[in-house]
Amino acid sequence: MFAQFAVAGVVAGTLLLVMNLLDLPSALAISVIVLVFVESAVGYLLLRYALGPTDMIARCLMYVRGEPLLRPLPDRGDPASVNSGLSLLLTTILDGTTKKDAQPTASTDQQPLRDLLAALPIGFVALDSHHHIIAANSLAPICTAPDGQRRIQLDFANASESLDVWLGQVSGNEIEAEKIWSHIQNVAPDQPDRRIFDVIAHYRQDFPSGIATVVITVDRSAEYEGQEDNADFVALAAHELRGPITVVRGYIDILDQQLGAQMTPDQHALIDRLNVSAKRLSSYVNNILNASRYDHKHLKLRPTETMVTNIIDEVKNDMDLRASTQNRSLVWQIPPELPTVAADQSSISEVLTNLIDNAIKYSHDGGQIEISAALQDDFVAISVCDHGIGIPPVVASNLFSKFYRGHRSRDMVSGTGIGLFISRGIIESHGGQIGVESTEGQGSTFTFTLPIFSTVAEALASDNHSLIRDDLGWIRNHSRVRK
């Protein structure tokens, strides 16, 4: 008897499933059920214990097929479903199957969430474990790369601190990690539809539904563009400052030229000090201008093929004079046979000036400073070595931050610390690296690298004014140009 009803129940359940899948009206389904069970009280029990689960399975199947649902998804948490194992089956259907895009219906239980994501002025992107986009809302900065892949369109000024680099560091290594970036543009300042975002990325190994990382972008263009007006102000202020500097430097030069033969050695020394100070003032203005541009992602460099000796020649006379007026001596050890490098010559001259200026500041009276260059794989490494007060290791890692100065130097020597900050920006924009090795009390060696021109010629030829190097080669924006 029970078996009879059970068979009838399964038949009716299957019928109901088919009707549901075919979108037949519920009234017809109900009529069929009534016909099958009308004469038996056991029918009620079957409705509860056989047809109910079948209906729940049917709704889950319809959901993953992307069909509109007339009733909400079943509750997988009720005790009966959990005890019977039905809950596990429903979960398998819902989570283990790729859902097709459903037609929005008012009754879909995820619709409020979708509405919320669409209404918020915030971009959302979900990435899988391979960093591919699996979902994004309309406000997220998304572009299609040449390989057809959708990518998050964010232009990180410092390539070593980009989202991709961070994802590479945390994926598989961390259980959970979060990082926040501020003031990240989607495209360069002169490109159309430029926006500026704050970006939050959250990575978790056990995110559901194949998600590994959620990226949230907050469009802060209105606020940050106002700050860019400040960058224009810095450019105008620099113009005003440079006028008097030009005149002071110029007339010192003319005086030196016209009075040269008549001046005593003491007077010559005074003129030299004036010359050095005026040149340093000019360098400081350049640093401030470049730091402002770097902060606002406006720093653009134009590396061209040049010899290291040309860069050295640009600064050598000024630096020798600067060192001698402060009773230091410079020793230049530049091999002439080094390959040509890709360098924005005036910017690299500023880097060298900053490093030598620091070496003069932080070395002892009468000290010697060596400037050397050597081949290092695909790069030429240029080093500035002093034998001065040195830097403790705990301080060295912060040296290239803006306005940072070592603990003892703060009291002993004047300065802002802006020079190393902009030097790092300039070198990294060339695809090189800058670092320091130091022993407290014995001195410091600052070294930066520049790419050999032949290794980046192709990238430069393809309209690239700055270079970024990742693990696989040289890249510009998101287009790889060299393996």
Partner: protein, 130 residues
């Protein structure tokens, strides 16, 4: 010491509104033997540049009445009105790189005034006129 030839007959126009800087370069160039005219106004400078048949123009950017960018564009387009004249743009106002690249296409050199001395300027002029 001056490395420049003193017997040069090259004729140079300076378009520079800062009187100290203009006077400084006029003095330095004349001492080196060049013939020098100096204009402090963009509009007058453009007229002088077209009429004067100069070998070289030292052109500032931030000028009254007509900027150096405009002057250079009007001199070189649609047809080059000064085909035998070299131009050195000298400014203390750094423009964005694209604007700078456009200027450089029509000029022979682009210098930041605060970064060079009059003697260094004479060396650059000798290179450009060579």
């Amino acid at each position: 010491m001056n490395d420049q030839p003193n017997n040069t007959t090259a004729k140079i126009l300076i378009i520079e509104d800062d009187r100290f800087i203009g006077e400084m370069y006029t003095r330095s160039l004349r001492s080196a033997g060049y013939q020098v005219d100096w204009s402090v106004d963009g509009q007058q400078g453009l007229a002088a540049a077209i009429a004067g048949q100069y070998d070289l123009i030292l052109l500032d950017i931030m000028l009254p009445h007509k900027t150096g960018n405009t002057i250079l564009r009007e001199l070189r387009t649609p047809e080059d009105k000064i085909p035998n004249t070299r131009v050195i743009v000298m400014t203390n106002f750094e423009q964005d790189e694209d604007a700078r690249a456009i200027m450089e296409a029509d000029a022979n050199a682009y210098l930041i005034k605060a970064d060079i001395t009059p003697r260094r300027m004479l060396e650059v002029i000798a290179q450009v006129l060579a």
